[in-house]
């Protein structure tokens, strides 16, 4: 049975399995709201107060809800970030020597682009799987987050308390210890086609399974003399319980990416090969379920690469704008790949994304990716890489992301 047929069949089968085999939404509500929906989603309601205090159900609003929203935004933004595997170029024919020659010495970079194109009429299909398990947000472990919920300003005088007054109870707070698990499984199907010798077009169709589990334990921080009598968790009396857990997941189409590459400078020594890359990310993924960013992003990138024997360094510089917001990012990838043999290539990239006008949360993310590509059989190339954050205290980060992939020409 031809390898191509097997490859294609397996890719389609895996994609269909991913798209249909997983629960679409295991619980009511959006995955992205797993934190903000804790304690019924409207802040924390403690048990009604006993006499002689005025009977009321103290509401604690989340003074750090803004931070939670940032957390959700960071997750959705990360959902749209994944490596676009490079394709392996095969043989071209050397008319003078009468032999096929490999178009490059190596099997290509891991996440960077190189300037060379596939060649007219060539089609490459690929599939990759990544496992993303977020561990930290702005340097804090997601397993050990603390959120402070403040009391309402009951008399609306703009001041909580103050101490020594009948309104001192406003100084009480609720601290919520939060254990957050956010995971994504990302299956990306991608295709690249050589329209001309120097012009490629392609698309990436990601299928994402996102899951989030938030486990919260609330504790009253007693800052007033009568706190123990006023502020207590007691669901039997109509208040919220001290513990709240939400577990949600969803599977679906992520943000589809369309791309094009034009190799405008080739074999003009001493210059490197240069290409312009254009990329459009469409908001096809459901933002609320962490399947997409909800925005249309446009990326323009300059790609430079050049082979020095078995080693090919490369540099990618790009500028990304979102058509739906004022956000813009500078992207850079610098790295290289080294052909240990015609069938095995080692590669490494440093991948940076900098948002100059950001909000100080994950504005500059830098990762190191390293791995290998193996021409296992015929034209089939298998790849594996690990992406490690170099500044793990910035934004929402994992300890590492591993990716496995396979690609081949058709």
């Amino acid at each position: 049975m031809p390898v191509r047929f097997v490859f294609l069949s397996l890719s389609v089968a895996v994609a269909l399995l991913a798209a249909s085999g997983c629960p679409q939404d295991s619980a009511a509500g959006d995955v992205a709201d797993v934190v903000t929906d804790l304690y019924s989603g409207d802040g924390i309601t403690l048990a009604p107060t006993p006499p002689p205090f005025p009977s009321h159900a103290p509401h604690f609003t989340a003074s750090s809800l803004g931070g939670l929203n940032e957390l959700n935004q960071a997750v959705t933004a990360n959902a749209g970030l994944f490596p676009f595997s490079s394709v392996v170029a095969g043989f071209t024919f050397n008319v003078e020597l009468g032999v096929p020659v490999r178009t490059t010495e190596s099997l290509g970079p891991l996440i960077a682009e190189r300037a060379s194109t596939l060649g007219e009429g060539n089609l490459y299909l690929g599939v990759s799987y990544s496992r993303i398990d977020y561990q930290r947000f702005e340097g804090d472990s997601l397993n050990d987050l603390s959120l402070i919920f403040s009391h309402e300003d009951v008399n609306q005088d703009g001041v909580l308390g103050p101490a020594g007054t009948p309104l001192a109870f406003e100084l009480d707070q609720v601290r919520v210890d939060l254990d957050l698990e956010i995971e994504q499984d990302l299956l990306a199907l991608y295709a690249t086609y050589g329209v001309t010798e120097r012009w490629d077009v392609g698309a990436i169709v990601p299928i994402i399974h996102s899951s989030a589990r938030a486990e919260a334990h609330g504790t009253v921080v007693r800052n007033s003399p009568n706190s123990a009598e006023i502020h207590n968790f007691n669901p039997e009396l109509g208040g919220d319980p001290a513990d709240s857990t939400i577990d949600r997941d969803a599977t679906g189409l992520g943000d589809v990416i369309l791309r094009t590459k034009y190799n405008f400078l080739r074999d003009e020594r001493p210059w490197p090969d240069l290409a312009a890359v254009g990329l459009v990310k469409l908001p096809t993924g459901d933002e609320d379920d962490l399947l997409g960013t909800g925005e249309t992003d446009v990326l323009g990138m300059l790609v430079a690469s050049r082979a020095f024997g078995a080693v090919m360094p490369h540099l990618n510089l790009g500028y990304e704008i979102s058509t739906d917001s004022e956000q813009s990012n500078l992207l850079y990838i610098v790295g290289g790949d080294w052909a240990l043999s015609p069938r095995l290539t080692l590669a490494g990239d440093i991948f940076g994304r900098w948002e100059p006008s950001g909000d100080d949360i994950g504005d500059h993310l830098v990762d190191l990716a390293f791995g290998a590509k193996w021409n296992a059989y015929g034209d089939l190339v298998l790849s594996g890489n690990i992406l490690v954050p170099l500044n793990p205290d910035e934004g929402l980060r994992t300890d590492f992301i591993w990716t496995l992939g396979a690609e081949m020409p058709f």
Binding site: P2, G90, F91, V95, E96, G98, G119, G121, D379
Partner: protein, 307 residues
């Protein structure tokens, strides 16, 4: 390893067009490149017999040997088509009792040797007489044609070319070179000795980038036109280039050879063929710099003119 039955349409064509019992043909591709795919297409549309198996050795000789073993033990064809030099190299290592037709092979005598074997095919070489004819048509001032060659690679070609030049009243001035360094020295020696044109042969030693660049530079320094063997070389500055024009037509030539073998009526070894469809490129910029006027007869045969 690919093992695909070709398109039913081709099979039907092969079976209905055959005047005798349809024979089975196995194909080995050296690698998957466009030129070889077109060659196979040309072969399939010409041959009157069935292509029952097609393999791609993907440039891997070990894999090629496994393919050949499978062909011998399982497919058992009446003829093997080897597309490209690597497939032919795998085949000639083994004694075979079935005829072999190759296609898109450059300098086949260096692979199959001089002994008569059950192997013939369609090379991608340009007929030497055609190259000499084009140089002759440049004008009466072209009498001495310089060539540099490695005897182990293109010695056979130089011998034939010398005879062809002599028949046209020209002289082939040949210098041997076993390395690029010697080839550069040979360029100097030829230019010093005096030649009217330099002809680049399909020889790996001469096609070394350093040698080629040096030959082009000396072409301008000594005002000696250079005949290259690819469009790329014409773009680099050669006055002319002649190369094979269609890999699909080379496939057709191989198909005709396969028909001749499988349908009998041929006694003795069948000589390999050279490309019958050629691609000629003329560089008028180079002509101006060299002070050469390109005759109308050459311009008329040019597929591309660089202005």
């Amino acid at each position: 390893m690919r093992h695909i039955l070709l398109l039913p349409a081709l099979l039907v064509f092969g079976m209905t067009a055959s005047p005798v019992r349809a024979a089975d043909i196995a194909v080995i591709l050296s690698a998957e490149v466009d030129a070889y795919e077109k060659t196979l297409r040309g072969f399939a549309e010409t041959v009157d017999h069935r292509i029952v198996a097609e393999y791609d050795m993907a440039g891997d000789f070990d894999r090629g040997q496994r393919i050949l073993a499978e062909i011998r033990s399982e497919v058992k064809p009446d003829l093997i088509l080897a597309v490209g030099i690597w497939a032919l190299q795998v085949i000639v290592r083994e004694p075979l009792d079935v005829p072999v037709v190759f296609a898109m092979v450059l300098n086949p005598p260096t692979i199959i040797g001089s002994e008569p074997r059950n192997i013939t095919g369609a090379s991608m070489n340009v007929p030497v007489d055609k190259s000499i004819q084009i140089l002759e048509e440049l004008g009466p001032e072209v009498r001495r044609i310089g060539v540099i060659y490695n005897p182990t690679t293109t010695g056979y070609l130089v011998k034939t070319a010398g005879e062809a030049a002599q028949e046209r009243g020209l002289e082939l001035v040949a210098r041997e070179a076993a390395s690029p360094k010697q080839a550069v020295q040979a360029v100097n020696a030829l230019q010093t000795e005096g030649i009217d044109a330099l002809w680049i042969l399909p020889d790996e030693t001469v096609l070394d980038p350093t040698v080629l660049e040096y030959a082009l530079l000396s072409s301008y320094r000594y005002k000696v036109p250079l005949l290259g063997l690819s469009e790329r070389q014409a773009e680099m500055g050669a006055l002319l280039s002649v190369s094979f024009g269609s890999s699909q037509d080379i496939g057709r030539q191989a198909g005709e050879l396969a028909n001749a073998i499988l349908e009998g009526g041929v006694t003795g070894p069948i000589p390999y063929t050279t490309a019958r469809t050629l691609r000629v490129v003329v560089n008028l910029k180079a002509a101006e710099k060299l002070g050469v006027e390109i005759p109308e007869s050459i311009l008329a045969m040019a597929d591309t003119v660089i202005r």
